[in-house]
Symmetry: C2
């Protein structure tokens, strides 16, 4: 079965390709010659994942999955959430985004937050949403230089380092994205049932 | 395999029991003699579903699933969300909740909203989150008397009636909760793969 991952990032595509059962042929956007700017205009993380997967399935007819991620901060009522990448405006600037979050949390004792990834899978006329969540806290200042986005100010529960202080492989095993991906892989393999 | 549904509502339990494969013995909270007030103190709908399922799995050792639902209104930044049931304060009062939402949306042209159900399934040491979403709009006033909660002011996309104007069976087929449940059922049955 052919399955499209609505991404042009060959690293992300290869990572998931290795995990899927062999009878699934995973294609990226380049493989189906889709160079469109796919809309990400929804009001929720779930909504963006659905928009992207539906765009491909409707235009190209493929089974497809798409992901979207965001940081939800409790004291900010779940913001930046779906607006994480462009919280401080266009174009995306991770540094400005972090500054904005730290300023909004100044003197705030509740630093609780979670990263969330939602994968929308369109499969044979059915739609599935897999959600990966990791709880943690926002630091008072940046720590570490790995990763991207809000990684330098997010310490996952049970750890004393930010995502940006962890080795790539370590973050990659415990992350919200890994959790969502593993749910979809289990869905295909039914391995834990 | 025994599987606990973290609910005491025999109607909800029987509804899902009918859909699960025969090798799964579905138990409600009464069946395992759990009469605790299970915490629902998380900041997100996902978080509450996780809290409830984890409470049962950790205390009783069972595989278990729990659900949580809410209404997310775009113009209110996703509120009432996890606070849907008690948006106008304790104790729960659907009438006051609706009044509060209608007041907050007065003169607001963006009436877009979605209902969301998240099911957290703890299965053999793995955790899965299934999300059902239905998009729609908030009406200017109440219509219909079926259902509960915000049903009288929510018109799902593609329909011209509120949830409260629909027959129970009709709402029950298209609802956010039905969508989340069917994802979990498909997960157990692998029927669409």
């Amino acid at each position: 079965m052919k399955l499209v991952f609505a991404s042009s990032n060959s690293h992300k595509i290869n990572e998931i390709k290795k995990l899927l059962p062999e009878n699934i042929e995973l294609l990226g956007l380049n493989d189906i010659e889709c160079f469109d700017e796919i809309p990400e205009t929804a009001e929720t993380i779930e909504g963006n994942a659905i928009l992207k997967a539906d765009y491909i399935t409707q235009k190209y007819g493929y089974n497809c999955f798409a992901d979207d991620s965001g940081l939800e901060i409790n004291a900010l009522g779940g913001k930046p959430g779906v607006y994480s990448a462009r919280y401080a405006g266009e174009p995306r600037d991770d540094n400005k985004n972090i500054n904005k979050v730290l300023a909004e949390l100044e003197n705030q004792s509740d630093r609780g937050a979670n990263f969330k990834t939602v994968i929308c899978l369109n499969l044979n006329g059915h739609q599935y949403l897999f959600t990966g969540i990791i709880d943690g806290n926002i630091t008072q200042e940046r720590k570490g230089s790995n990763g991207f986005g809000y990684d330098p100010i997010f310490v996952p529960d049970g750890y004393d380092e930010t995502f940006a202080q962890m080795a790539f492989e370590e973050k990659n095993q415990i992350s919200h994205r890994a959790k969502a991906v593993m749910q979809m892989i289990d869905f295909f393999e039914k391995k834990s049932i």
